[in-house]
């Protein structure tokens, strides 16, 4: 973070997110107010008009995600921000964006509890929803920032992934990360990589949805002179509906292959002292910050502990976890839900290994005290 030209500001996570989006070239925000995400919309409402971008408050979250898909189809990078109840409404067109191969970024600042739940409480209950919320097999990328800095950095990264792989990307911060204020380094223009989608100058035989060797299709922007057809129906490389079994199969397999073909690019995690660890603490977001603290405490006391935090939670960094899991015998998974990541960890490390959750769902963070106590109990 020793940038020469950038600047460091005390920023709220939500502000950092909006600023990251603008840095990444986002020029369209369509949203519907909901705690604890509203500061993002408010920041965009002030800033976007000054940079020639569009801010619009839509009539609901269904319309919000629809509007940003429209913008992105027309070639303008776009984003929306919401929380659980709104994220639920967005699931329908999250699927649409996926099959239209439209880059968009959706920020879901996680509150606590199902339904309207606890609007100002923090939580991590939408991990599985972000993976499986929209129907059928589909690729999903979700990032979980843990600091205000990551709210900036991972928002830029979310746009880059969206543009490069032409997928919707979800940012999944807990409410605490949205509202925390920390020093955030805002890089100067050009200092941080910003990726724009590929825009081929020509297409063979109108095959706008033909995948390149990296599994990515690059259908043209609306109005760019190609007159493509976009449909949410199963379609072949031409973009038109198909019910031919082989082609329907290729549609679903092709879409999902993007994740597999870019597995390395989509692996992003932080870890500490994992190599020789007997005990691994695995978590994401702010909750994982406390894990790092507990890990260091344990090491000081001679316990061979390590911690592992995926920054990209979907696709889950299975390969890496699998490798470091060979040595460890106990896996502790603290999270603000009743064990969603624990399920994934158990599946990855295998049924023989001991995987224990530390869970809290009362709207507050997992306090250090509580985490230390529960870790002690697990290790006793």
């Amino acid at each position: 973070m020793s940038g020469t030209k950038g600047r460091t500001l005390l920023l709220q996570g939500n502000e950092a997110c909006a600023m990251g989006a603008i840095y990444a070239g986002c020029r369209f925000f369509g949203g519907y107010p909901i705690t604890p995400s509203t500061e993002i919309a408010e920041h965009f409402a002030r800033k976007l008009p000054t940079v020639g971008g569009v801010f619009i408050q839509m009539e609901d979250e269904i319309a919000s995600i629809s509007s940003i898909i429209g913008s992105s189809l027309a070639g303008v990078k776009a984003m929306t921000a919401t929380s659980g109840p709104g994220f639920s409404l967005m699931q329908e067109n999250l699927g649409l964006a996926t099959v239209l191969e439209t880059p968009i970024v959706i920020v879901n600042i996680m509150r606590s509890g199902a339904s309207t739940g606890h609007p100002t409480g923090t939580g991590q209950g939408d991990l599985m929803q972000s993976r499986w919320g929209t129907h059928s097999d589909h690729p999903v990328v979700a990032l979980a920032p843990a600091t205000a800095q990551e709210m900036f950095d991972l928002t830029v990264k979310a746009f880059n992934i969206a543009e490069k792989l032409r997928v919707p990307v979800i940012l999944l911060p807990e409410a605490v990360v949205g509202h925390i204020r920390e020093a955030v380094y805002i890089p100067a223009e050009g200092e941080m990589e910003v990726i724009d989608r590929e825009r081929p100058g020509s297409y063979e035989n109108f095959l706008f949805f033909k995948r390149d060797t990296n599994g990515v299709a690059h259908p043209p922007d609306l109005g760019a002179g190609f007159r493509p057809h976009y449909t949410g129906l199963t379609h072949d490389e031409s973009g038109f509906f198909t019910a031919v079994p082989d082609r329907v199969n290729a549609f679903t397999v092709g879409l999902n292959s993007k994740m597999e073909l870019h597995r390395e690019y989509l692996t992003d995690y932080c870890e500490e002292t994992v190599e020789d660890a007997d005990v691994l603490l695995i978590s994401f977001g702010v909750t994982a910050r406390a894990c790092a603290h507990v890990t260091r405490d344990l090491r000081k006391r001679g316990v061979k502990a390590g911690c592992f935090r995926p920054r990209i939670v979907w696709p889950f960094p299975e390969e890496r976890l699998n490798r470091i899991a060979q040595h460890a015998h106990t896996f502790i998974v603290p999270e603000l839900n009743l064990g969603q990541m624990r399920l994934v960890v158990q599946r990855v490390v295998g049924p023989e290994k001991r995987v224990v959750g530390i869970n809290r769902v009362d709207g507050a963070m997992l306090t250090l005290e509580r985490m230390q106590k529960e870790v002690e109990e697990v290790l006793a």
């Binding site: 005390l10 100002t120 605490v176 204020r181 920390e182």
Partner: protein, 183 residues
């Protein structure tokens, strides 16, 4: 917490409208200017519109992993409710600063060094602005914390307050430092 020198926690509390959040932001920005890592969080929602409100600041020489106050080194409480709720959290040998304009019943069995002044009253009488009680408190804080000097805090205040209130805030801050000397 194991390594105290690396982490210094401030808890500012009062009711909405007393400038608690702003004071927290000022402490955090002074910390950044001083090359410290900082985390600032605040209660928000209905709370920030008039009810009890509190703001936490963590300052540290190294990365801050756990981002919430665990055992505050410095507690500022500007209301009775805040004093009742937070004063006893202060670490032994830490500091508690209370505004006796509103805190009538001083909390008992506090192991930290407790100081109390009628901050809001003084702000009213001396500066005609009860609102600068928070800045007086920061003046006091400047003299009693090991990390941030008065200059850094004052610069952070100047950056945050409207320019036409600059002088007023400078005076309030200076007065807070004087109180610290008296104590």
């Amino acid at each position: 917490m194991s390594d105290r020198s690396e982490r210094y926690e401030v808890l500012l509390s009062g009711s909405g409208g007393q400038g608690i959040i702003l004071a927290g932001v000022i402490v955090a920005e002074a910390g950044i200017a001083h090359d410290l890592k900082v985390v600032q969080t605040a209660s928000y929602g209905p709370e920030s519109r008039g009810g009890a409100s509190h703001s936490e600041v963590i300052l540290s020489g190294t990365d801050i992993d756990y981002p919430a106050v665990t055992k505050p080194d410095f507690v500022i409480a500007l209301t009775q409710e805040a004093a009742d709720k937070f004063a006893h959290l202060a670490r032994p040998r830490g500091n508690v600063l209370l505004d006796t304009t509103w805190v009538e019943k001083l909390p008992q069995n506090i192991q930290a060094n407790m100081a109390s002044f009628p901050l809001t009253e003084e702000a009213s009488n001396r500066f005609g602005k009860p609102l600068v009680a928070n800045i007086i408190a920061l003046g006091y804080f400047a003299e009693h914390n090991p990390l941030l000097g008065a200059d850094e805090l004052l610069q952070a205040i100047i950056r945050r307050v409207p320019s036409h209130y600059r002088e007023l805030n400078e005076h309030a801050f200076a007065y807070g430092r004087e109180l610290a000397d008296q104590a």
